[in-house]
Amino acid sequence: MISIRGIQKWFHRGTPQEVHALRGVDLEVAPGDFITIIGSNGAGKSTMLSCIAGALSIDAGSIHFHDTDVTSWPEYRRAGLVARVFQDPLRGTFGGGTIAQNLALALRRGAPRGLRPGVRRHELAFFQERLATLGLGLEHRLHDRVALLSGGQRQALTMVMATLRRPELLLLDEHTAALDPKTAAHILELTERTVAEHGITTLMVTHNMAHAIALGNRLVMMHHGRIVLETRGAEKAALTVTALLDRFHDLNAASDRMILS
């Protein structure tokens, strides 16, 4: 169980540019949950994922993994628990390294690094086996530099890296948004398959309502730094894109009225 309680986050607090990005977010994530997260631009979705990963510190609230309070843990210390994939394919890989070197770095996520060989021979077969599931032929290019790969190939590699060592929590932040539709569909299919196969607890931010409805067992909508809608199970399955869009319009109209009044 991952418990996120009362998270508040400000940027530039106490200055004229102050942004209150998270205004008390609560979320209880059960093992195996696959939660899709939607919301308008600037709702705080990315900020929430960064706070959970520890890349941003929070100003109030707490984050627990099972019974461990990780609120004060820096990002590198949470890495043993959390894996993350971003929108930008360049962010998830180390371009100067080879595919094998990147996978070896990911295989040691959260583990101490010493003076043993960075890539070990016996690991290569395992890397090839996992890469083969992508169907992109990357298993034959273990020693190619990642910088030579296309954005879609890099994102596929990042997905493999994120799940090479099973994380307690997988965070996906619009990880198909920068890809062409065909590649995006492939990565999404890969996501569904990997998450199901390994039973990985997942939070996935997407701006695609249809994906948000189709994937996962829970759906969360964020608005102005808060969770404004939560559905699960049959209720979620019964959602339609139109219903969600109506919901969006209501929220926006409400906040416009607030600003105008």
Binding site: A53, A55, A79, G80, F94, L105, R113, G114
Partner: protein, 294 residues
Amino acid sequence: MTTAALLAALEQGCLYGIMALGVYITFRVLDFPDLTVDGSLPLGAAVAAVAISSGIDPYSAMVLAGAAGFMAGACTALLHTRLGILGLLASILTMIALYSVNIRIMDGPNRTLLGQPTFLDDLETLGLPLYQVTPWAMAALVLVIACGLIWFLRTEYGQAMLATGDNPAMIRALGVNTDRVLLMGVGLSNALVALCGAVVAQNQGSADVTMGVGTIVAGLASVILGETVVGAATVSRACIAVIIGSILYRIAIALALSIHIGPWSLSPSDLNLVTAILVVLAMTSPRLTRRRSS
């Protein structure tokens, strides 16, 4: 160029190649341009000179010099990671401070090693004239260090260091404390530079507080010349390229100094200008050739 001049260039190139490998770590591996080296080269020389003249054996003196260099680099890294000072500025601050520190260590602006034991004494026991042995001894030394560096960069920690320079956000998300890696990397770099200073001091028989001037430019020139000529596709290729670049750089300097146009010629004090021009040429030559071919 005469054979003697070539041998001298080989000797200097290999000797300063140790420093250039240090510059390669900060400049290319960590992507952290570091000017500390202008202070850590004389620091290594000063520590070795003082240690040797107080009776410590030359090899232990070189280890002490390396340790002092590591601390200088660590200082720069901490100014950057702990106090948030811009990396380049942090390294300038350490470099400036080292000027005073080096004078304190030597109790003056220089320290002679005349009549003191040095590691060169062990080369003399080979029975060949020193001017013939030294270049090859320096070549062996820099190759051993390069092999060590190549081995290190292929370890788990070395791979994390390469990734820290390339994509720090990614490697942090994989559980690496990038601040600590930076500290180790900048420290290691300056340890090599200080070791180089310790060897230079023994080779020329003295340590001098001004001997570090232009170290960073010579190091950059070596790294960039090597990359341009040899390439840097893999870590091992890049490390060998640094050494070759360092030798080419010394040859270029020797050639420049041998230019005589009537009564006019270059003097050693022109070297920094020549080096700066050389770096600009090496940095822009790939672009120039690309423009011509496209």
